[in-house]
């Protein structure tokens, strides 16, 4: 009986602390992350900017050296087996890292050749991929004169040239307009449906919800929760979060709401009140009424339905900052 295949990605207590430099103190960018991503999965690392996602992906792709813990990609150690791991992965960086001295097609051709393809095979493979991703007419284009969406598709093609076992995408749609982003989602969904293992980082909640089989919510270098989007919502209470800002300190009666069925938590911070509720109907009106009865006006009110955003809010007590 053959052994089950190694997970695509496995980390244990993975840590990265950047040393102090000049007046800047040391920066603990990643603080003990555990991941287990099976093959074939579309896995998302979701978190705000500066959460440690890119550093994590940097360690998994061998370009950032961990300062603690272990990380294995396709069963290989990221420090000891870096060259072999690079043969097995494809990486799409956040920035346009295409070679500006080469055309789009040449970028792909040379990527293929770096990974051992002969020149003719690499050109043929590049043509195939460019056709598949609707880039044929841009094959001779300069990568820095293309639109953001086109350049990103070229980068995805380039990462797929050698048939990687795991595809890493670091903020693939950052800076793209909504239409282009949706188009790129379709490309990524297509790849995953074709069996490609994908690990993506994003700070867009809706992107993680739309694409990922499982998501790990990351903040300040730690995983706050991980699971399917539904699991995360359930684990965090599947709450709707109602936030009201009063023009004066919140009335004391607000605290009594916490005892009510369907309300799991009430947070009061001076004039701001946040109610986490599984049964949110009527609560917003009630908060306005309580304020009015106490002579306090409402200056702002929001109601967030259960989403990764409310999960983040529940887990951290802070609003999600993209």
């Amino acid at each position: 009986m053959s052994a089950p295949p190694e997970p695509a990605v496995q980390t244990v207590e993975l840590t990265k602390t950047y040393p102090a430099a000049g007046p800047r103190p040391e920066v603990p960018a990643v603080r003990g992350i555990d991941l287990d991503v099976p093959r074939g999965e579309f896995f998302g690392l979701l978190g705000p900017n500066g959460a440690g996602k890119s550093t994590t992906i940097g360690m998994l792709t061998t370009l950032v050296v961990p300062t603690g813990g272990t990380a294995r990609v396709t069963g290989l150690d990221v420090v000891k087996d870096a060259v072999e791991i690079k043969r097995r992965i494809g990486v799409v960086s956040q920035n346009n890292t295409l070679d500006s001295d080469l055309t789009a097609a040449e970028n792909l051709e040379f990527r293929g050749r770096f990974f051992g393809l002969g020149a003719r095979d690499a050109r043929r493979r590049a043509d195939e991929l460019m056709e598949l991703f609707g880039l044929t007419e841009h094959r001779k284009g300069n990568p820095f004169e293309m639109s953001g969406g086109q350049a990103k598709r070229v980068m995805i093609c380039r990462a797929l040239m050698h048939g990687p076992e795991v595809l890493f995408l670091d903020e693939p749609t950052a800076g793209l307009d909504p239409q282009t982003r949706t188009n790129l989602w379709e490309v990524l969904r297509g790849l995953q449906a074709g069996g490609q293992t994908i690990l993506l980082t994003t700070h867009y909640m809706e992107e993680a919800e739309a694409l990922c089989d499982r998501v790990a919510v990351v903040d300040h270098g730690k995983i706050l929760a991980a699971g399917t989007v539904d699991e995360l919502k359930n684990a965090a209470g599947a709450d709707t979060v109602i936030t009201v800002a009063y023009d004066a300190p919140a009335p004391d009666q607000i605290h009594k709401l916490a005892d009510r069925d369907g309300i799991s938590k009430v947070e009061v911070n001076d004039g701001q009140v946040r109610v986490f509720a599984t049964e949110p109907d009527g609560i917003l009106g009630e908060l306005v009424a309580i304020g009015a009865a106490a002579g306090v006006g409402v200056t702002d009110a929001t109601q967030l339905r259960p989403s990764l955003e409310t999960v983040f809010l529940t887990l951290t007590g802070r609003e999600y900052r993209e």
Binding site: L98, R113, R125, L132, H162, G163, G194
Partner: protein, 282 residues
């Protein structure tokens, strides 16, 4: 764009991503870029030496200022210039071929991350950059030869013959590598915002004081400058070329320039691969 429901990729053709093969592909990429930019590189390489020989070997002698460098009967100034200008072209081209692209790759485009993902160890990527830049330096040196040999006023032709081919080859090849390794070191250490410092504090003094326009022994009367010049790698390349192209003109002993060029190449390559690796791997 309409994407298919499932993008089933055909597997790529069988590949053999061995380190030598990847290294070869990287060099092929450099060759492709060099070929594309050949005209602009050609012009850039030639302008400065052509201007020098034009002024010093053609215009000044025509104006009556073309005295023999070693007095009447001594070598023409153009003879003194040949090894110096070839050496300076090698050093400048090799350094610039690595410094400026590297600054772009490390700081603005960040494209170095992509090259670093090629399946080779990072120090080897540094070595590849040194070799590619050295190749450009070598080509730069070769391109200058015809210009410095052909442009001169009547009676000012340089007297050049190759005395020792192996020394010529070693000096040109190792000199290119030395400059490229130095360029890689500077490119990884310098703050790109202060690139003008590179011209003012490194490249200009290196050229002006690199024994391009006079042999090192001529500095006997300015001892402090002669000693200070020993820190300038161009001095050894100029003197090495002088020893084999214009052996009649005083020059350093072979052991001295060979030791400096080969030893310096080894030292700078070691240092540059370390700083490069530190910049690429965080």
């Amino acid at each position: 764009m309409t994407a298919p429901a499932a993008t089933v990729l055909t597997p790529p053709p069988p590949a053999r991503a061995t380190i030598p093969r990847t290294f070869g592909a990287m060099m092929a990429r450099e060759a492709r870029v060099m070929r594309k930019n050949f005209l602009s590189t050609f012009v850039r390489v030639l302008v400065q030496p052509v201007m020098f020989v034009f002024v010093f070997s053609y215009v000044l002698p025509k104006l009556g200022g073309g005295a023999m460098a070693g007095g009447p009967g001594g070598p023409t100034f153009s003879t003194i210039l040949v090894p110096g200008l070839v050496g300076s072209s090698i050093i400048m081209q090799a350094m610039m071929a690595v410094i400026f692209p590297l600054m772009m790759e490390l700081n603005w485009q960040k494209s170095i991350t992509d090259r670093a993902l090629a399946p080779v160890p990072i120090p080897l990527l540094a070595v590849q950059k040194i070799i590619a830049a050295a190749l450009q330096g070598l080509i730069g040196g070769l391109l200058v030869f015809p210009a410095v040999l052909l442009i001169h006023a009547e009676g000012q032709s340089p007297h050049v013959h190759v005395e020792n081919w192996p020394v010529l080859v070693v000096v040109m090849v190792a000199g290119s590598l030395l400059a490229a390794a130095g360029g890689l070191l500077l490119g990884t250490l310098l703050n790109p915002q202060k690139v003008q410092v590179l011209f003012a504090m490194v490249l200009l003094p290196m050229t002006m004081l690199g024994c391009v326009y006079y042999p090192w022994s001529a500095l006997d009367h300015i001892r402090w400058l002669q000693v200070l010049s020993l820190f300038n790698p161009l001095v050894y390349v100029s003197e090495g070329l002088r020893s084999t192209l214009t052996p009649g003109i005083p020059h350093m002993p072979a052991w001295a320039f060979l030791l400096a060029i080969v030893g310096g190449t080894a030292l700078l390559t070691w240092a540059a691969t370390r700083t490069f690796t530190r910049r690429v791997l965080t």
